[in-house]
Symmetry: C2
Subunit: 369 residues, 2 copies
């Protein structure tokens, strides 16, 4: 039996607390991860920072201390209880199992294991218990687009039972890593002070290189995220469908998604229409969401109150507003939600899962059937 | 009987062609309107340009000729056969009936008459015949958000019968007139070269004045367009519902809309999910849309082909791509559509309606029952 799936080995780090490895500590998500580890209640013993050979020897600050970055290798996981992965999918695909084989529980934020039936896909506010059953010793987190809306949806589903979901996203460039942010900033500098965006093709000429995107992203919106998955769909749209089903435990949930990149640096938004098995009211939805952990209701449109990325960026919760019952369907609810794609959309969810594992190790809780 | 609703008086302008008044000729929409009148097959006799007193005496070019702008007054409509209105709603509300009382047919692009049961709401590609029955002598065009998608939807509806519509919009700032464009350009200049958009509230501090919008529009998206209409809805969202029903002749069509402003200068986009009474296929949808007047299909996502505002701006048609059948509903079709909000979304639709009226006058076609 895989030790990571079995009884806890107990913390081996300082003060008896679990040892943590952070793999991808130098990346966009990794940087936010170190910030969160420094801000949050400290449950960890030793924290090891890991990245590629390119970064080995660099010093990064976590919990106010300078820590040297190690190059990724099998032995960085020796004695580690938990390993958080914030690296490209192909790196995680190889190294998460390697961490498990050295005795750590691996928590992965990449796409590598999300749809693996032997890997739980966890959003702690929604399905924390799922993290306890991990046949491969790995726990995955959903993509940032799913994470933007799933905490609010989970709370509403618990009350009314979700049966259909229609989502249009407004996705920020930092979800493409540093090159996404650099591309938007460079294009903004190129268009500022020009008349670009008013004649066919003039924006393409003005911005030149489109970086990781198939079209200009400054002064534009691009209805294509991820890669092409066949039958007209993108991988990102299929991810929203598959992951929502898996996290909510609704394998036949009807889902439509259109994923669109917008010129926002950080914080994804989504226009959501949800249909439930039961009749809904906007008042009750307010009440449910106001009481849901990880959700903030920001909804007084008459007073100009609704969430926008500019206000949600840098914060942990999902900001929900524009809550209203569908005019032509008493079981339909519509809302707009914003969430920081680097925090809850990536680093925060990974850290929260890590903390669940740490608590499990601490409590010596036996593995669930 | 109102003469504008009755038999044609015949053209009174040069070469026996109808006389046209363009009211609001100096505005954002009016400027595009003059361009279209200059480009299109010329059906008009005299063209009079009208705006507020502020602009009286200015000279504008139309059909290659310099024409002096007249201040809006009753007598500018004397002898006019058709008057196109591109002015704020409250100005149209007073002056379109005034034009009718002087014998002109009024075509209005504002919100003033769209939902008036005695005013047809016309999109020539979809319901041209409706323009012939105009008890008040006035014909209205829908708002730019409805116009973005309705031509494509009308073609699909004719084949499969629409029963439900879910729309999320990505609306450009030029729909707010010149002040929307100026606000976005000023905010872009303020954020260029800064790190704004990465910390809570920093964007609000960097951009300062938010102009006509309730939140920053550079590096942001704003889920609020129009004004607050009660029960959680905005006027723009209710307009999309009411106008789609009226244009398609489906008074009980189920519609959900979320209208969101994005930092794009010109060209609205919409992520559309349409459910029909009949089963659909993506192949047949391609065929229908490729043959529909006013629609261009741009849909090969594997090759990076899909519409974006940067490519649709300055062009007449609705650009449709990302066409796919819903994965969980054989009657559901999803697509993404981009259309220039100043052309088909405003000026072009108004001109097209004007041309319908001109043809009716020319043919001396009797009024329909
Ligand atoms: N950005 C988001 O909003 C978001 C949301 C959800 C999930 N994710 C996922 O999170 C992961 C990280 O994304 P990111 O945006 O932070 O990317 P990033 O900025 O490009 O950072 C990548 C990190 O992975 C490390 N790395 C790359 N190749 C490596 C290798 N061969 N061996 C060891 N380390 C390697 C890099 O180290 P060096 O600095 O040494 O190269 C860096 O620390 C990705 O799987 C992404 O899909 C991102
Ligand atoms: N922009 C769009 O995408 C869009 C789409 C669909 C519909 N519309 C509608 O089209 C109309 C015009 O919009 P716009 O964006 O072109 O606005 P705009 O740029 O502000 O132009 C307004 C026009 O109306 C004239 N005007 C204003 N008050 C007047 C008055 N009291 N008497 C006579 N003329 C007056 C102005 O003349 P001066 O220059 O002399 O002030 C100007 O020509 C609005 O009803 C708008 O809702 C716009």
């Amino acid at each position: 039996m895989n030790p990571a799936g079995g009884l806890p080995r107990g913390g081996t780090g300082r003060a008896g607390r679990p040892t943590l490895a952070v793999v991808g500590a130098t990346g966009v998500v990794g940087t936010v991860l170190l910030g969160l580890l420094s801000e949050r209640a400290d449950v960890w013993g030793e924290i090891r920072l890991v990245a590629s050979e390119r970064s080995a020897g660099r010093k990064l600050t976590v919990r106010g201390e300078q820590v040297e970055v190690l190059a990724l290798a099998e032995d960085v996981f020796d004695g580690a209880d938990v390993a958080l992965f914030a690296v490209p999918g192909e790196v995680a695909a190889h190294w998460a199992p390697a961490a498990v084989s050295r005795g750590a529980v691996a928590v992965d934020g990449s796409a590598a294991f999300r749809m693996d039936p032997d890997v739980p896909l966890v959003v702690p506010e929604v399905n924390a218990r799922a993290a306890r059953v991990r046949p491969r010793g790995i726990v995955a987190g959903p993509c940032c687009t799913t994470l933007t809306m799933i905490v609010a949806l989970g709370a509403l589903h618990a009350e009314w039972c979700l049966e259909e979901l229609s989502v249009a996203s407004y996705q920020a460039v930092s979800a493409s890593g540093r090159c996404g942010v650099d591309t938007l900033r460079e294009q903004l500098a190129a268009v500022a002070g020009t008349e670009a965006g008013t004649q066919p093709g003039d924006l393409r000429r003005t911005v030149g290189d489109t970086g990781p995107y198939p079209a200009p992203i400054a002064l534009n919106v691009v209805p294509f995220a991820g890669s092409f998955a066949g039958d007209g769909w993108t991988t990102e749209e299929l991810a929203v469908r598959g992951e929502s089903r898996k996290v909510l435990g609704l394998p036949r949930l009807r889902v439509s998604a259109t994923c669109v990149r917008v010129p926002v640096v950080t914080t994804h938004s989504a226009a959501v229409r949800a249909r439930f098995e039961n009749e809904v009211t906007a008042e009750k939805a307010h009440e449910i969401l106001a009481g849901a952990p990880g959700v903030v209701v920001c909804d007084d449109p008459a007073a100009g109150e609704f969430p926008t990325p500019a206000d949600a960026v840098g914060t942990d919760p999902a900001w929900v507003g524009r809550i209203r019952r569908s005019l032509d369907d008493p079981q339909g609810l519509e809302f707009f939600v914003c969430g920081d794609n680097l925090r809850k959309g990536a680093a925060l969810n990974t850290v929260q899962i890590g903390e669940l594992i740490a608590a499990e190790l601490r409590e010596g809780r036996p593995r669930l059937p």
